[in-house]
């Protein structure tokens, strides 16, 4: 009797698990899925299924300073790309006394309009920027520090 109960239940759980995995992989909001860095990514029908984001490094930050980070999108796909989201956050600091938090450095929301269409095999430098702000009250221990900023984007393949 127990076995009769167990079999359909286990099947159901397994299918539900598969469904959760499948849908999670497609969720634009899930930050953990943003794992394609610098050109590594999936392929579909032999073609690439990713795009790359590039931006120059930022120098000369000091309390109260705002730097504008300009981002270039490269679309190697044979399809148009509709860039839907672009954001950045501070993910690492070289100084223990200067943590990678908004108290030390902030990445403000993208200033341009989205979505942006990037042509197949196209490359576009976005008109908007990601403002990088060092708050006025940033700790003195941040002087000379290095930060790492992760910028992430989410787009959709637009069929031909």
């Amino acid at each position: 009797m127990l076995k009769k109960w167990w079999t359909p239940l286990a099947t159901l759980v397994m299918l539900a698990g598969l469904l959760v995995v499948a849908t999670t992989d497609q969720s634009p909001a899930a930050e953990d899925t943003m794992v394609m860095v610098g050109g590594r990514g999936g392929h579909e029908h032999g073609g690439p299924l990713y795009f790359t984001l590039t931006a120059g490094s930022v120098h000369g930050l000091y309390p109260g300073k705002v730097k504008q980070l300009r981002v270039t999108v490269n679309n190697p796909m044979g399809y148009r790309l509709r860039l839907q989201q672009l954001a950045g956050r501070v993910t690492w600091s070289s100084r223990r006394g200067c943590p990678a938090t908004s108290a030390s450095l902030q990445v403000r929301p993208y200033t341009g309009r989205l979505p942006v269409l990037i042509s197949a095999h196209g490359r576009t430098t976005l008109t908007g920027t990601l403002p990088i702000l060092m708050p006025s009250g940033t700790s003195e221990k941040c002087a000379g520090a290095h930060f790492r900023i992760t910028i992430s984007g989410m787009g959709y393949r637009v069929d031909r």
Binding site: Q26, Y62, F147, I149, G153
Partner: protein
Amino acid sequence: MRRYTKHLAGATLVLALSAGGTALAAANGWTVPSTALISAKVAKMPRGVTPSAARQSGTAVVSWSAQEITDGVRMDHYVVTAHSIDDPPLPDITRTIEATGGTAETVAFTAAELAGGKWYWTIAPVYRNWTGAESGKSQRLNFPGTPPARPASTDPAAEPTAAAPAGIAPTTPTAPNQPATTTPATTSPVTTETTEPADPVTTATTTAPAGEPTPGDTATTGS
């Protein structure tokens, strides 16, 4: 048993439809993520430039070149400290002055403050709440007399440049990490003591108190 089989079949159908719908939706517009890492560097606070100190009209005039935290962004304040080299030393006299925005900064210390002591000066640049390292030492000046009673450290609201008495000729600020220049001919002839570069390495020794002038200092003469 038949009932369970029906339930299982129903659940499988629902899940299959959901998965199929998801796949279809994805096929119409594949979600494509991307990330990149960017580096950001913060400016360093510079060490203060070695100031020059000169006696003019009975006061000590301390001057130095304005400093920048990064290109085109000057410091907003400086901490100027007069250090006594007497034995025992007199208390330091510290002033925080607002930068004028010019290429050079100057502040005057009155003879009354400095009477009865031999002094050298250092400066530290300040930007917002960041303070740079203390500069090298200026020339020494001797102010004979009886030391006034004063607290251990004073920080009166000091006026830069404008605080200097009228008629004081501007002094030439020193370049970073270079010995201060001696004072021009306007230096008061009241005492015979000479001013000397602060940091050149010599073999002269002083009876400096602990933690004060280093072997890099030169001896004070003529006082």
